[in-house]
Amino acid sequence: MKQDIHSIEVHNLTVSYDGKPVLWDIDFNLDSGKIIGIIGPNGSGKTTSLKAIMGLLKPSSGFVKIFGKSLNEVRERVAYVPQRESVDWDFPASVLDVVLMGRSKSQNLFRRANKTDMDIALQSIEKVGLTEFKNRQISQLSGGQQQRVFIARALAQQADLYLMDEPFVGVDAATESAILELLREMKSNGKTVLIIHHDLQTVSDYFDYLVLLNTRLIAKGTPPEVLTRENLSNAYGGQLTLLSKIVDLIKQNEFPVREKGFDL
């Protein structure tokens, strides 16, 4: 793999909901082969940033490049794990059904799953330790098991870059360490993993690099660089009241976030 190219390049990214910037002029480059954490308080735009990288939200300005290219050119190399609560688990499907979804690509829309797809899906299920549950209905799984189903589906995609939205939420301690083990194995195989995380206790242990958000980029770098008292108090300590006042003003007055002609 080309090491000189960034796995993700986020350039001046602004995303607004309803005229209100949730992410504002975010700018960072991420290396390949690392486990990277996105942290920040509730409502700081973490999920929005992941969705914007994955092309699920249209930025009002800025752009994202993945492995130096546009998403559509490298879509097969990226796997996305949404928040577990974002789907209704009372859907009529088995663990295997959901993991097989990871074998779908834009090139094989009309093709049914074949033997290879099946083998890869079963291997992925085994990696997350759900083999004995492979035919179980997903509604009958525990929260931790459901999270592992989502991770198995991402593994079945055989991507190089994994974007995971809060994979440790609502999972038991055993699942958390199993997932972490898996992430480290992926990293040793040269994969890049970008994870939204909110437990500050564990960030230093889990991540090689951190992006600290609160609508704007507060800090980026290695955990010791990011986890300074000043950065944390900026992001979490209610130091940004002025910023949120501006954000509210923008929404109230339906004001543009940038002046015309200064788009990039």
Partner: protein, 426 residues
């Protein structure tokens, strides 16, 4: 009389009956097929808006063609049906009105316009507008041979599309964000699926009426979901339920001339749903039996426990003798439940009935000791692992003693380092 009509209907001697049955099969299968995905995507209510919005389209189609020309009517219906979905979407995106209210507003608006147009046609119509009012509540008997061909065409388009796109429809319904992330053209497929839904509703309005056709989209899928966890089985069950109630409803409306079809189909369909709520694997009936079973278990085990508390088991050779009076004095038993419980315990060989008294058997003695043991183990566990006041421990163990399995019993013993029945009862 009813038998004669049944024979007339189901012998298919009348070609009109053949058209009705064939038409209903194609209409109801189409609706159940797209309805399953509408249900899974939680868009069932949109079908209600669409069906009402078809009425103005039908009237416009009639005015345009100048006669009851089915393709013209369906085209008109299809167009206004789509406009209604577009309008709902627009209202939700551009105003503060949420989707439920937006659907309500759009339903009534389109229905009102439809009724205005319908009245206009009937009052001023110079052409043949006979049967246009069937579109309100449906008249399956009006299905003609040409209609059947049209319905079959729509059904096969829908079937072909669902089979071809099945994998994508499933991913889209379960997790649209993920579908988009792997490059499935979500927007296009959603547009296509919605078009198929509008089309399925449009072909059904003559037979079932705009007011009630949405039931064909919503109810079979919701009912089928109660019976299975497998998507393909769910689709199959939905189609079967839909066709059955369709044909049964058409039959009733056939035997009683002038009776609209739609209401009968929906009444029968809903009856199947009610039966399913009660009878389905996780239905009310099963809940009722499980509750009954648990109640009996608790009652019976309490009887055994009370005998232990009365007599103690200090003399291992003797099986204690007791009377119902002793039991009711010791514990507030409902006498009816006590009698039923004693009968069950006799059947299970835990108790023997001797002329004027009862005697515990050796097996019964063992069972009673087991229950006491579980009760005390759980008390010990609560005291060790949680902070609980000693006078609350006993009541906390009352219900739990009945549910502890042998595996948990072993684990409790291991964890507490206890063998045999713990001495103390709190």
């Amino acid at each position: 009389m009813i038998w004669q009509s049944a024979i007339d209907f189901f012998s298919f001697k009348d070609p009109n009956v053949v058209y009705v049955v064939a038409g209903i099969i194609f209409i109801n299968s189409s609706a159940a097929l797209v309805g399953t995905f509408a249900y899974l995507r939680k868009r069932s209510l949109l079908a209600d808006a669409v069906s009402h919005a078809l009425l103005p389209g039908i009237c416009l189609g009639f005015l345009f063609a100048g006669e009851k020309n089915m393709p013209a009517l369906i085209t008109g219906a299809f167009i206004t049906g789509w406009i209604s979905i577009f309008l709902i979407d627009l209202i939700v995106r551009k105003s503060r009105i949420k989707q439920d209210a937006a659907i309500g507003i759009v339903i009534s608006f389109f229905f009102a316009v439809g009724i205005v147009l319908l009245t206009y046609i009937q009052k001023n119509g110079n052409g043949n507008h006979a049967g246009l009012d069937h579109f309100l509540f449906g008249q399956a008997a009006a299905i003609s041979k040409n209609d059947v061909i049209l319905f079959a065409l729509v059904f096969f388009i829908i079937l072909f599309a669902v089979v071809l796109l099945f994998k994508n429809l499933v991913i889209l319904s379960f997790n649209p964000d993920f579908a988009q992330s792997v490059g499935i053209p979500v927007r296009f497929i959603e547009f296509f699926l919605t078009s198929l839904t509008v089309l399925a509703i449009a072909i059904g309005i003559q037979a079932l009426g705009v007011v009630l056709i949405s039931a064909l989209i919503i109810t079979p899928a919701a009912t089928a979901r109660m019976w299975t966890h497998h998507l393909k089985k769910m689709i199959f069950i939905a189609i079967v339920i839909s066709i059955f109630s369709g044909i049964a409803g058409s039959f009733v409306s056939y035997t009683r001339a002038q009776m609209p079809t739609g209401p009968w189909v929906v009444v029968i369909l809903s009856l199947i749903t009610f039966v399913s709520v009660v009878m389905a694997p996780k239905g009310l009936l099963r809940k009722f039996f499980i509750r009954k079973k648990n109640e009996n278990k608790i009652n019976d085990e309490n009887i055994l426990k009370t005998i232990f508390e009365l007599k103690g088991f200090s003399e291992p050779e003797k099986n204690p003798i007791f009377s119902t009076l002793e039991l009711t004095e010791k514990r507030m038993f409902d006498t009816k439940k006590l009698d039923a419980g004693l009968k069950r315990l006799i059947r299970r060989n835990f108790i023997q009935h001797k002329e004027d008294h009862f005697q515990l058997t050796t097996a019964g003695k063992k069972e009673a000791a087991r229950i006491i043991k579980l009760h005390r183990l759980w008390e010990q566990y609560l005291l060790k692992r949680t902070r609980i006041d000693a006078d609350h421990v006993h009541s906390g163990a009352e219900a739990i003693e009945h549910i502890i399995t042998p595996e948990i019993e072993k684990e409790l013993e291991r964890e507490l380092g206890i063998e045999g029945i713990p001495e103390e009862d709190y």
